[in-house]
């Protein structure tokens, strides 16, 4: 990796950590501990299902909220506070700045997810008293959640490179919600004809397919995840993020920093 991108990424990560972003982990830990104790007392035979479902959904939601709120501020905050001026007056290209910021936030989210995943497994251990072979699929579901974060981060960065923070948050969250329903959209597109069908198809395939990245219910039931899906999802997330980041770079490249 280009060393300047690495420095910017590390600085972004350090700022985020010191800005108490990881404090959400405390709320998350409390939520999961409480849920595990409660589930242990009221569920019979479905403790694992409930804890995995609840835990992974919480990981996903907490992470998406953080990705959006930090992602939209990555560029706009630096512009508002004019910290960007002293960075870009150095031998740093604008694309290096955007990519460095993206990696920094991604790193923050990976660390965040690691600790939340630890919480999920501890809660799981509390209710089932031992790990089973099928728990390995929980790790795959967590990996898919991280891929979701990559896309959300990239989208937040893309929108914030030309829009206000508020509008960027609205656009990114809207795309997350629509993308989570993309399988339904694709189904709708298949049964719609004419111009409406083309529009529905364009939207269904244009929005990020978060449905394919959501295997929470499947792994909660102990079902395996196909290796091909892991490969396709990885490539899809990387490609989609790269496209969004390229868009962010293009928008930022010619932007006047007033």
């Amino acid at each position: 990796m280009n060393s300047r991108i690495g420095y910017i990424a590390f600085n972004t990560f350090r700022e985020a950590v010191r800005d108490r972003v990881l404090y959400n982990l405390i709320a998350f830990a409390l939520l999961l501990s409480g849920a595990a104790i409660l589930v242990g007392q009221i569920s019979i035979d479905i403790e694992r299902l409930v804890v995995v479902n609840l835990g992974l959904t919480a990981v996903s939601l907490f992470g998406v909220v953080i990705a959006i709120f930090i992602g939209i501020g990555l560029v706009s905050k630096e512009m508002d506070k004019r910290t960007l001026y002293t960075v870009l007056s150095r031998p740093v290209r604008r694309w290096e700045f955007v990519v460095g910021k993206f990696f920094g936030l991604t790193g923050t989210l990976v660390v965040n997810t690691f600790f939340m995943a630890l919480g999920v497994f501890l809660a799981l251990l509390y209710v089932t008293h031992r790990f089973e072979r099928m728990d390995v699929w929980v790790l795959v579901a967590l990996y898919f959640i991280v891929l979701q974060f990559l896309i959300v981060c990239a989208l937040a960065l893309f929108f914030s490179s030309f829009s206000t923070p508020l509008m960027s948050a609205v656009f990114t969250f809207a795309l997350f919600v629509i993308g989570s329903l993309s399988e339904d959209l694709r189904g709708f597109a298949r049964i719609t004809h004419g111009v409406g069908g083309w529009i529905a198809t364009a939207i269904a395939y244009g929005v990020p397919n978060f449905s394919a990245l959501n295997v929470i219910n499947q792994v909660a039931h102990g079902d395996a995840v196909a290796g091909r899906l892991i490969l396709y999802n990885s490539l899809y997330a990387l490609l989609y993020s790269a496209m969004a980041i390229s868009g962010a770079v293009l928008a930022f490249q010619r932007r006047n920093l007033k």
């Binding site: 060393s3 300047r4 420095y7 910017i8 600085n11 350090r14 700022e15 010191r18 800005d19 506070k81 004019r82 910290t83 960007l84 001026y85 002293t86 960075v87 870009l88 007056s89 150095r90 031998p91 740093v92 290209r93 010619r254 006047n256 920093l257 007033k258």
Partner: protein
């Protein structure tokens, strides 16, 4: 060698909801600054000083024209390692310490790891922040941030330093330190381009100044030339409890302060006034020609703007 060459650089912004109106921020600017020169860019708030600096830093893009620094176009990445920049009212990352921030900027400037830490400590010492080096910047005062801003601007030993209102927010001691720093940069042969509206600083530090108003360069001149000319008047100070009779008839404007009289009168009346003092047996304290000040030059250059506004001015001009 020419350090900064600005060739008809122009900037206007599209404003309004539909971005159809054009707002002129900088009229075609042509200016050349030689290496080793300290150049002061003077003008009131909103005159176009910051816009010019942002154009030179590549933070905003020109509508027309171009600029070169050390012979390279401003968008050439090689330029950036040769320049340092202090923005107006600088603000840095809240959660970093001064030491971490300088280290980060040193990394971005491509300073080799070996020697970087020593240089960071040296710069902290130079701007008087050694004792606060480990404190997070959110706890810094405005003056401390300004000092840190200066440190980051010269950290990587650039050949050309751009400072936007470097004295802003500083107490008298801080201003003195900044003046010393600029003088030190001059003695090291660096080129310094700084914007200010504090004329005494410009007069004390600059080799040349340029006056800008409403996005238009009104004049450029060497400070020594601008302040060397006399105005055909002399200022005389002497001990007397009141203005002596006969002084006013020499065309003097006099005022009494305590036991001193301070009078300004035409140069050709110099012998006559000395004769008057001898006759009245009054003690002379000083006699000196009245020199032009930078302030007078500045005001003179800004004055034409008081006429009826031109078409573009009516549309509004900002920094």
């Amino acid at each position: 060698m020419t350090a900064i060459e600005i060739l008809d650089l122009e900037k206007s912004y599209l404003v309004g909801f539909w971005r159809k109106r054009s707002k002129l921020a900088l009229r075609p600017l042509r200016l050349t600054i030689e290496e080793g020169e300290v150049f002061g860019f003077l003008g009131p708030n909103g005159a176009g000083k910051t816009t010019t600096l942002k154009l030179l830093m590549g933070l905003v893009f020109p509508t027309a024209g171009r600029a070169r620094i050390l012979g390279m176009e401003v968008d050439d990445p090689r330029v950036k390692s040769q320049i340092g920049f202090l923005p107006e009212q600088p603000y840095f990352y809240d959660h970093l310490s001064a030491r971490e921030l300088l280290n980060y900027y040193g990394q971005l400037s491509g300073m080799p790891a070996k020697g970087r830490s020593a240089r960071v400590e040296q710069m902290l010492e130079r701007v008087g922040l050694s004792e606060s080096a480990g404190v997070q910047l959110r706890k810094f005062s405005k003056g401390m941030l300004q000092r840190l801003g200066l440190a980051q601007a010269v950290l990587h030993d650039p050949r050309v330093v751009f400072l936007d209102e470097p004295m802003s927010g500083l107490d008298p001691m801080g201003r003195r330190e900044v003046r010393d720093l600029i003088q030190q940069l001059r003695s090291e042969g660096k080129t310094v381009f700084f914007s200010t509206h504090i004329l005494s600083d410009a007069e004390a530090l600059c080799d040349r100044v340029g006056v800008i108003q409403q996005g238009e360069l009104r004049g450029v001149g060497a400070v020594a030339d601008l302040t060397s000319g006399t105005q055909g008047k002399v200022e005389i100070i002497f001990c007397a409890p009141r203005v002596p009779t006969g002084l006013t008839s020499l065309g003097a404007e006099a005022r009494v302060s305590g036991n001193m009289v301070n009078a300004v009168l035409p140069e050709e009346q110099q012998d006559a006034v000395l004769e008057l003092l001898r006759r009245e047996r009054l003690k002379l304290v000083s006699l000196a020609p009245v020199r032009r000040s930078l302030e007078e030059y500045y005001i003179q250059k800004l004055r034409p703007a008081e006429g009826p506004p031109k078409e573009e001015e009516r549309k509004g001009v900002g920094a």
